[in-house]
């Protein structure tokens, strides 16, 4: 299972293009529209984004593998 997070800005057309790409592929994702957040939430989101993309630029899509439980097959596949 993959966890997909899209960091975006409400004013950014390129962000909309990425979002449409994910929608067209039927991919489930979480959107964080950073410019629409309050100050403190925005600070936290920017810090989190910077962990993945030091320039904290937009759009950024973070794709994380998620393994739930003692699933040796999935762990083996994800961690060769």
């Amino acid at each position: 299972m993959k966890k997909v997070t899209l960091y975006t800005l409400s004013t950014c057309p390129v962000c909309k293009k990425v979002r449409k790409f994910l929608d067209d592929k039927g991919i489930a994702y979480t959107v964080i529209e950073v410019d629409s957040l309050g100050d403190s939430e925005q600070w936290v989101a920017t810090k989190e984004l910077s962990r993945h993309n030091p320039r904290a630029s937009y759009p950024t899509v973070v794709i994380e593998d998620v393994v739930v439980g003692y699933d040796i097959d999935a762990l083996t596949e994800k961690l060769p």
């Binding site: 800005l9 004013t11 950014c12 057309p13 390129v14 962000c15 410019d35 630029s57 937009y58």
Partner: protein
């Protein structure tokens, strides 16, 4: 100012510099909508593809046309948000690659 007015003003400005607006008119109008939204909420037209602080002195470099436009167009044929592009970019003589963020992260 209406988006259409701005479109023509930006087109003239680009022409004066020997560059062009992105040939995708709808995309440009979307960028202009973003610029106008930022002008409304911050008081200045900060780049729609960059997070503004709302403090003009901290965002001077990303007020459109941003300080990085010329270097980005020289290197990639397009500015960061692809509003302003070179003729080659518009004629697909160049790849439309994402332009990396030239701006250094804020402390």
């Amino acid at each position: 100012m209406t988006p259409d007015h701005l479109y023509h003003a930006f087109a003239k400005y680009a022409e004066s510099l020997g560059i062009q607006l992105n040939k995708d008119r709808e995309f440009v109008l979307d960028i202009i909508a973003g610029l106008l939204k930022n002008e409304e909420r911050y008081g200045y037209r900060s780049c729609p593809c960059r997070l503004a602080t709302g403090l003009k002195e901290r965002d001077e470099d990303i007020i459109c046309p941003c300080r990085y436009k010329d270097d980005d167009i020289t290197e990639f044929g397009s500015c960061y948000c692809a509003l302003y592009v070179s003729r080659d970019w518009n004629e697909d003589n160049l790849p439309h690659a994402p332009v990396p963020e030239r701006r250094l992260p804020r402390k």
